[in-house]
């Protein structure tokens, strides 16, 4: 088995640590890697899109699962797929779209694996309708610390500990996922502008239920009366009869434009308040005041950033942190206060996204709860950012909210039990299932998961 010690980071490119990178090519090799991973343990890793240290394991083993990427069976009548955990959502889309099926949930990137999607219990723009990814997983096979492979069905404690469990219960080998039927590969999109945060929240509250997919981009550099101004994009899969005649010839074609990759070395400081402010102004002005029924490619609607490989490099050598939190309905005042604080601080963030979550998911450490979630990217080198985000954490925790572990790289461990009330159950199950702590990551060490 090829093994090598390399420095590993998450997508945010902060806090590198060294680990032995093992790339199992069979279930047997994966089991051997788990059995032999030594005192510092191991952690599965997919395509490395977790922003922080969830798929790093300093001094131990990191199991790159992307070589286990077979699709075993597609049931086109029922709409299910059985595949290896290392298969990416991109690959699934390529295979399934021509058959009239789509993945049930996709985050802002197609380059996540099915295993990672379950481990982080990812959500998408359809959470208010469909919930998060694991809700659509019928069962999966889990390689546990004892070297055994267990079939884990939905509704069992091990399933709920693994959904959102950040890879700490074991290595997912295969999963059976229920799919979403679609008539075309195009999206019918409504776009509108919101003048400020209150306008935005009112629009989302009143009309979100009409759309399968819904998301708002917020301009966090806008101040004063325009604080929280935003562009809403919402829509659904376009039905066949909505397509113009020419497009109806190949309604299920999956096209993904790709621009050149961001250069390996990007000048730091290019993302200043001024440049980001200019970008935000243009982005807001460019959006139509109101437009309905626009046909967009899936890649444009769901994964605009996937068109630029290695876009994470634009933050330079210092990397970046993503801050995503959720506060429940009734805690709108906290959301307003946080948005105001970020705007007043003039943080150069051009990827700020607000969305409303639906029902909470059963995963013990799953992130979504019904309410409002805001996600933003920030250059890690901003002076005073560490303390500022700590203060925001306090507001979030006081409002009964939480931050998203798949994106975290800096939370205070003390706040975790407040944010995730089922952490005790998770710890107890892990102590039972993996008493030696074979499954360990930098995230689990940092937060004492």
């Amino acid at each position: 088995m090829p093994a090598d010690t390399v420095a590993v980071t998450g997508w945010g490119r902060t806090a590198p640590t060294a680990a032995q990178l093992i790339r199992p090519r069979s279930y047997q090799e994966a089991a051997a890697a788990v059995r032999e991973c030594g005192t510092r343990g191991g952690i599965p890793r997919g395509l490395g899109r977790a922003y922080g240290d969830a798929a790093q394991n300093a001094g131990g083993a990191v199991l790159d699962m992307t070589a286990l990427d077979r699709v075993h069976a597609i049931d086109v009548t029922e709409g299910t797929v059985l595949c290896d955990a290392g298969v990416s959502l991109h690959r699934l889309m390529e295979l399934l779209l021509p058959l009239g099926w789509f993945v049930p949930v996709t985050p802002g990137t197609r380059y996540v694996t099915v295993g990672g999607a379950i481990g982080a219990d990812i959500h998408g723009k359809n959470h208010h309708v469909s919930g998060s990814f694991a809700r659509h997983v019928r069962s999966f096979e889990l390689l546990t610390a004892d070297g055994l492979v267990r079939t884990v069905a939905q509704g069992t404690p091990l399933f709920d500990a693994t959904a959102g469990g950040m890879g700490l219960t074991g290595v997912i080998l295969t999963a059976a996922v229920r799919l979403q039927p679609v008539e075309t590969s195009l999206m019918s999109v409504d776009t509108e502008r919101a003048a400020d945060l209150d306008d935005l929240m009112a629009r989302l509250t009143a009309t979100d239920h009409r759309y399968r997919y819904s998301v708002a981009w917020i301009d966090l550099l806008a101040r004063g009366a325009a604080t929280g101004r935003a562009v809403l994009t919402r829509g659904d899969h376009a039905p066949l009869d909505a397509l113009p005649a020419r497009a109806r010839r190949a309604p299920l074609a999956f096209r993904t434009p790709r621009l050149p990759a961001a250069p390996a070395v990007f000048p730091e400081g290019l993302l200043s308040r001024r440049t980001v402010g200019l970008f935000n102004e243009l982005w807001f002005r460019k959006a139509p005041r109101a437009r309905t029924g626009e046909l967009q490619r899936m890649s444009t609607f769901f994964h605009p950033l996937d068109g630029v490989p290695h876009w994470n490099r634009v933050y330079g050598r210092g990397g970046f942190v993503q801050y995503q939190f959720v506060v429940g309905h009734g805690q709108e005042e906290t959301l307003r206060r946080i948005v105001r604080r970020i705007s007043e601080r003039r943080c150069p963030s051009f990827l700020a996204v607000l969305k409303r979550f639906g029902e909470a998911d059963p995963g013990w450490l799953s992130f979504p709860v019904p309410g409002w979630t805001l996600a933003l990217d920030l250059p890690a080198g901003l002076p005073g950012l560490a303390g500022f985000l700590d203060e925001l954490d306090d507001e979030v925790a006081a409002a009964g909210g939480r931050v998203y572990l798949a994106k975290d790289s800096r939370l205070r461990p003390e706040l975790l039990t407040t944010m995730y009330p089922r952490l005790a159950d998770f710890r107890a199950l892990r102590a039972d299932l993996d008493p030696r702590g074979v499954f360990t990551s930098d995230l689990s060490r940092r937060l004492a998961l």
Partner: protein, 251 residues
């Protein structure tokens, strides 16, 4: 583990009574640091330092460590690393010596060299191996501008720091890509008990400013940090000054 901003959760100080180290520890405890090991010769001062840091909310342990006994370093530091990961090792011990006396008494000059250089070589290597095994961590070495160019007034101390500085740079290169980060910190004249009574040099700084620079360097994953930053330029000029000129400079 260190977080995205390079802030450590656990800290090992070699030279546990150093004012710069304690200022750094105080600063880091206010952020993420919860566990501190103070290594030094057992003394009331070491216990006082531990008590003070405990008062700030950290779990503080002391461990007997003597720079002049390199053969014991493996055991002393091994004990610390056996208790859990150390995210940051701060090498802060060192003596200034008394230049006039040390010139007359070679044995005491050698003691300066052994503390500042030989002892540090041994401690750094022991720490580096442990950090490499855990796959992460920073080793911050307190050097000095005095090591950048030896001057008449303190060349015994300066030469020992020059050796340490060169050693730490090489160690940093050796550990590049192993997940371990080595940072050399070169403060100028620091107002502390070590320099009490000495005439103050230009661009003098304080332990707190050095601590702030260490925190910034950790965030940036810097390899070299000058405190204050302006010294980088000043020392670059002084380093290239001809001997005959440098000798006469009032530095």
């Amino acid at each position: 583990m260190k977080d995205a901003f390079g802030l450590p959760q656990s800290l090992l100080v070699l030279g546990g009574t150093s004012e710069i180290a304690l200022a750094t520890a105080r600063r880091l405890i206010a952020r993420r640091t919860r566990t501190v090991w103070l290594a030094g010769r057992p003394s009331p001062a070491l216990d006082r330092a531990a008590t003070e840091l405990r008062g700030l909310g950290a779990e503080v342990h002391t461990v007997a460590f003597d720079a002049l006994e390199p053969e014991a370093h493996e055991t002393a530091l091994g004990k610390v690393f056996a208790e859990g990961d150390i995210d940051l090792v701060l090498l802060a011990f060192g003596v200034l010596g008394d230049q006039a006396r040390d010139e007359r008494d070679p044995a005491s000059a050698v003691r300066v060299a052994q503390t500042n250089y030989t002892g540090a070589v041994s401690a750094c290597l022991v720490a580096a191996r442990a950090l490499q095994a855990q796959g992460h961590g920073s080793l911050v070495v307190l050097s000095s501008v005095a090591g950048e160019r030896a001057r008449r007034a303190n060349f015994i101390y300066g030469s020992s720091k020059a050796g340490l500085d060169a050693f730490a740079q090489g160690l940093g290169d050796a550990l590049y890509g192993t997940g371990v980060h080595v940072m050399v910190v070169r403060p100028g004249f620091v107002r502390s008990k070590m320099t009490a009574g000495l005439p103050e040099a230009p661009l003098a700084t304080t332990p707190e400013e050095v601590a702030a620079a260490v925190e910034l360097g950790l965030r940036r994953r810097s390899e070299t940090v000058w405190v204050p930053g302006a010294l980088r330029v000043v020392m670059s000029a002084l380093r290239h000054a001809p001997r005959a000129v440098f000798r006469r400079l009032p530095v």
